[in-house]
Symmetry: C2
Subunit: 292 residues, 2 copies
């Protein structure tokens, strides 16, 4: 019989991930705070709409949460844990602080269930295609239990260590992205002040050792001041701060990311929080009193 899955959180990402699970033959019970979204989803993809998080968890072997932050995950677990059958596997795919994931993992264990943290990277189109990157933390056996579900939603699935390490890898990776992006922003602004041809600079960087995905994705938006949000600056800053908190707790310093975080934080002070994080170039422009 198909594995019964409770899926909680049918937002932009979650609705697409759940659809891939349904297509792969999992038996879904879905829950969403705004019930209309769940009804619409079930009309399209089948499955049952749950009345409450507890209802979504009651008959599930695996419960997936895909919501906005740690407090939301915790509130859902408050409701779902008492209803779940013993040994249910809770998989949180939201992006939350690694320390929160560990705390929630302990709580799920105390309730007699299992927990895996499994945040994703990749935007809506990759959620749609089932080609997300999924990085997970948890016991080997629990990750293996979740793997068939992960493989229906993602292309790359990596097990990074015990509970919390999926989140740790995600925020560390995002800290590198954010720092590479801030470095690029500063190089463009410095180049402008020096009067070099910025198209030439970008072309040279793209064809040499300075190349990066950030250069590929963000150089043009920076030069054109197009900050329509693909990933908001305030959300990127949140991830970098999680990465710095984790590093600190492990007794490690990440000075380049700490400096980058400061620049993004200045961006918040300049009202750029809802813009794409490429808007960190505005901070570099302000510091150097020049516009791209």
């Amino acid at each position: 019989m198909a594995t019964a899955v409770g899926f909680i959180g049918l937002g932009i990402m979650g609705s697409r991930q759940a659809a891939n699970l349904a297509r792969a033959g999992f038996e879904l019970t879905v829950f969403n705070r705004t019930r209309e979204r769940a009804e619409a989803w079930a009309a399209e993809h089948g499955g049952r709409v749950a009345d409450t998080p507890a209802d979504a968890a009651r008959d599930a072997e695996v419960v997936i949460t895909m919501v906005v932050d740690g407090p939301q995950v915790e509130a859902l677990l408050d409701e779902a844990l008492p209803a779940a059958r013993p040994g249910t596997l809770f998989v949180d795919m939201s992006t939350i602080a690694p320390a929160d994931a560990r705390r929630l993992g302990e709580r799920v264990a105390r309730s007699g269930h299992a927990f895996v943290d499994a945040p994703v990277t990749g935007s809506a189109p990759r959620a749609q295609d089932g080609t997300l990157t999924i990085m997970c933390g948890g016991a080997e056996a629990d990750v293996e239990r979740a793997r068939p579900l992960f493989e229906a939603m993602g292309r790359l699935v990596v097990h990074a260590g015990p509970i919390g390490q999926g989140q740790a890898v995600k925020v560390l990776s995002n800290a590198v992205s954010a720092t590479n992006c801030a470095t690029l922003a500063q190089a463009l602004v410095v180049g402008r002040r020096e009067g070099v041809d910025l198209d030439a600079l970008v072309e040279v960087m793209a064809n040499g050792s300075a190349a990066s995905t950030m250069l590929e994705l963000k150089a043009r938006p920076m030069l054109e001041h197009d900050f329509a949000p693909l990933f908001k600056l305030e959300h990127m800053l949140k991830d970098v701060r999680h990465a710095l908190d984790e590093a600190r707790a492990a007794g490690a310093v990440f000075p380049l990311a700490a400096l980058a975080a400061e620049l993004y934080a200045v961006g918040i002070g300049r009202g750029l929080g809802d813009e794409d994080f490429a808007a960190v170039v505005r901070v570099a422009e302000a510091i150097n009193d020049v516009s791209l």
Copy 2:
């Protein structure tokens, strides 16, 4: 008739660049401080061996210098300029400080000649294949005069602005590479302290927005502590410092590169100057008291 070219400096890069010019049909007169290298080169590729830099410049329409640093370029120009025919084009393809390139350009102009700075990126195999990246600074007409030669040596030729801007683009691009590399080093070391699986971390970064050429080229050497020099740490630091000097002179601050420079400089103090610049990971390890 084929353009007569004086080529000065037949080192690892220069000998391969000159060979591509000879293959493309330019008429070469070559000079090298160690004459045996020039004799061996001419035996293989044809052309005439000059006795002195002046001899290499005397009948040339274009004189190319490809040596180690600014003082060497200056010493060669001291000898070559008086012998050159009026209007000779001097193209310096060495990597030197942008400010030095500007100063030398003025000096060449006072002698009645033209100057283009045209540093390259790409290692010996790309010099061999004629697929270097060449970034040049100079007057449009002078760059156009040099273009047929550049096209015999490089795949990507970009004109970045007036004299000095080829060097400015090169060191700015290298400052981005160095900063991305130091960011990667710190992320790996922080990840080790946190106990995450570093192969998982590298795989996630390589498949997402944290990807970069530095990640591709330097993550493995860092994890394996393989610092056999492809580009020495002290040379990378020199380029980053040139980039910071240029930025300062233009009234601009590049804080992330300044912090990266500090880490590479600590590397010098730890005896890593002759290692590959990936050895900056040793500094990150020392700061965080952990080994990869």
